[in-house]
């Protein structure tokens, strides 16, 4: 972790305009509040503007309109937050993994592992699986037979990919993620559930990130599909035959039921539930903890959240929810009575 760059070097690599001392050396990123003189911070949210005056950061990344908001050494960028992400990536490269197959890994017959790929100890790669260039399969991962993983993947410890799945380039999958387990397909016959074999695959595009303990089930007949650039947080459940459109981001603990089709560039809050066979248009935003029970055809923000109260207030108010229809009828009735009375009194 002894990487450092002059501010000028950063701008050469990542673009942007340097103002102030371009020779200042930067070795890490930090918040305005905590940054030290060898660190660079950023301002992309007005909420933190007051901190700009007091920061000890050695340099700051700012938008064009804030270019003169500080006299610290600075880089001016159209998108300070994205620029900051790029600087952080520059200063914090992933730990390198030695190429090759560790002697304590298990590799099935016919597997094709690119010589630049790294298969750690205690990982297993099934028969005829394919692991692309520079991909890193960490300790304890299990890759099923015939599964294909593209280049530059990083599977953290204990990721499981079942057989016959297809994954593009640049996958990041965190520990405990399970890709390709059977969907929940059962049929009732004479008082017993029969299992419906789940013969579809999971097909994942490029540039996808999958959070810890997230599960993506294989399709029942057709495939479950995660398009390019989808970002999934932890503990998300994607059921069989779901399709998630490109560049959609989903926060943790969300569940998406079977055959739902989610559009592109959607933002789905944590703990949301999307029922099966629904469709969500592109650019739909769903609030956290919201159940979506019907298709959404129009871009926009949607919510279904019970407002928080003190327990005793909640109890006093919530009891009426079981009588809302009666309350509505009583209002209607009152309106009728008033009309009658107005007739009489006029």
């Amino acid at each position: 972790m002894n990487i450092s760059y002059r501010l000028a070097d950063i701008a050469v690599q990542l673009g942007g305009r340097v103002l102030g001392d371009a020779e200042v050396r930067i070795s890490q990123v930090a918040t305005l509040e905590k940054a030290r003189p060898d660190q660079i911070s950023f301002l992309s949210n007005n909420k933190y503007r007051a901190q700009l005056a007091h920061t000890r950061a050695g340099a700051v990344i700012l938008g064009e309109t804030d270019a003169q908001a500080t006299c610290l050494p600075r880089i001016v960028s159209d998108n300070p937050y994205a620029y900051f992400a790029r600087v952080s990536a520059l200063l914090n490269p992933l730990p390198e993994a030695a190429p090759g197959v560790h002697p304590a890994a298990i590799v099935g017959a016919g597997a094709r592992i690119d010589p630049t790929a790294s298969i750690a100890a205690l990982a297993s790669v099934g028969e005829n699986a394919v692991i692309g260039a520079y991909s890193v399969i960490c300790e304890g991962c299990s890759i099923g037979a015939n599964t294909v993983i593209g280049s530059h993947a990083r599977l953290y410890p204990h990721v499981t990919v079942y057989r016959d799945c297809v994954i593009g380039d640049n996958l990041i999958a965190h520990s405990g993620a399970v890709i390709g387990a059977d969907g929940f397909g059962i049929a009732m016959e004479e008082g017993r559930w029969l299992k419906i074999p789940q013969i579809g695959r999971v097909v994942i595009g490029d540039d996808v990130e999958i959070g810890a303990n997230t599960t993506i089930d294989r399709g029942a007949l057709d495939d479950t599909v995660i398009e390019d650039g989808v970002k999934l947080d932890n503990q998300i459940q994607i059921a069989h035959n779901v399709r998630i459109g490109a560049h959609t981001a989903i926060a943790g603990c969300t569940g998406i039921a079977g055959s739902a089709v989610i559009g592109r560039y959607c933002l789905i809050g944590g703990g949301a539930r999307i029922l099966g066979h629904l469709q969500l248009a592109d650019h739909v935003e769903i609030a956290a903890h919201t159940l979506v029970g019907k298709s959404i055809r129009e871009a926009g923000s949607y919510a279904a959240i019970y407002p928080l109260s003190k327990q005793e207030d909640w109890r006093r108010n919530a009891v009426h929810l079981r009588h809302l229809d009666e309350l509505a009828k009583r209002i209607k009735n009152l309106e009728r009575e008033i009309e009658l009375l107005k007739g009489k009194s006029s």
Copy 2:
């Protein structure tokens, strides 16, 4: 995957009545929409009836009342969906696993592993554990000491079963499932939580399926019990001392709190929450994302879902939930006033 059967052969094995060309060879199942001429499809939901006219399927499975709805080769069955499940199982047998203990597996002293069972590389089986006939323990599974697993189980990679659990025949457990971890038992003593040792077991009947990353905690004193034929989807949490009745099916992301007793043949939607110490009768259906806060003594369907709206509509309406009791009182008051006015005006 070169299995194929004549339609006549399928009917010999699975029953049903063949109409049309019984010689057509079938090698896979598919939807009406996507089936090719060597594939068989099915009609069990009227929603898909229109597709019957256009399907390229080589054969179709139909109910008795639809027997003449197509002139394609067909099998007529009382329960087309279940029949389809059976055909799919015939055409898609599970990959075979070599019997025996892989040299890179770890087996504790006194473990009894049936010679027909398969213990994969990187799996561990604890002391005195028992693995039944034809059971398959995949890579990276961990079976605790003294645990007994029946015959024909399939534990996909990275299933963990803690010590002293008892599991029947035909278990399917998907990756990341954890059976027998400690229940959440703590007692407050002078400002600190003391752990209550969890000394019960998990006892699981026959024909149970457990989804990926589902967790079933061991009992605090008595056992947690999952009866025969229960089907659990992914990421379900079953707390200590829960009992789930036979043939109940639970969708993903549901949580069941301690000592709840769920009846037989219940259907519980995704993301539901069932509080502790409650009882649900047989044949209860719970909607997705519904909290059950009291026992349900009567079969039927129950729900507690906030309806979805556009965010601005939601905000405008939801604010009144904190004043429902006041609104109800104002209605009551209005009714009183109307009665008074009616008295005066009559």
Copy 3:
């Protein structure tokens, strides 16, 4: 499991006052309902008082006010439930683990493992990691480089701790728990998500328990912090930069979004959701399945739960939630009309 103690011995070790035959031998704990004569039970909840008359327990733990409620041999304690927890711990010691590193474990260069610690087969410990005295790392665990784990930890099979984390003494972590995976940090740039490197750590205090398949993400810039004595049930998601105050207990399936700060001694129900950047005071209780969408500054109990109904009742009532604002306006209008009419009729 042949441990047993005379009642007198238990009181010598754990305190409390023995009444009745102090020679009775106790070998296990059990409920009042199921206890046998060699077992000790307890009464701490009035709900079970009726069982006291019929219990076959050999001895009972009781509070001071119940000291004469039975003539069975008994121990009188200020806190019978906590006392019971201590007796159970005495009678049910954890299985011992052989100290040392199993030959089928993988240990990186520079790792420092206390000679009293136990590293099981198929576990991996990264470069320069530190494992403290008497800590037990079970099969299939993965400990990242530079991570420090204190003494007396027990990590059940398949726990993953990423690199650079810091964990205190007495950690219990159940299978499938993932500590230190990347937080969900992304920035949009020209239609694509850029990853924000997550360079903070997870820092965990002493006496923490983490349930099965619970995930705790590392910080984005600063650390995610779990203070001393925090108890986390299964399948909880703790996002980056959350801080959880000491001795807070959280039930299963709860999700806490990024940078939320939870106070000390909070109790959070199962399936709750706490949005990002919020603050909860000390001693706040949140009901199960409740979304907390704003900071809570005052101790107390809070809820936001839709009440359960039969499906048809729910449908009839819930439809009005989309028109609550209109209903409220109609009530206001009625009140105005009544006032007018009262004016006229008076």
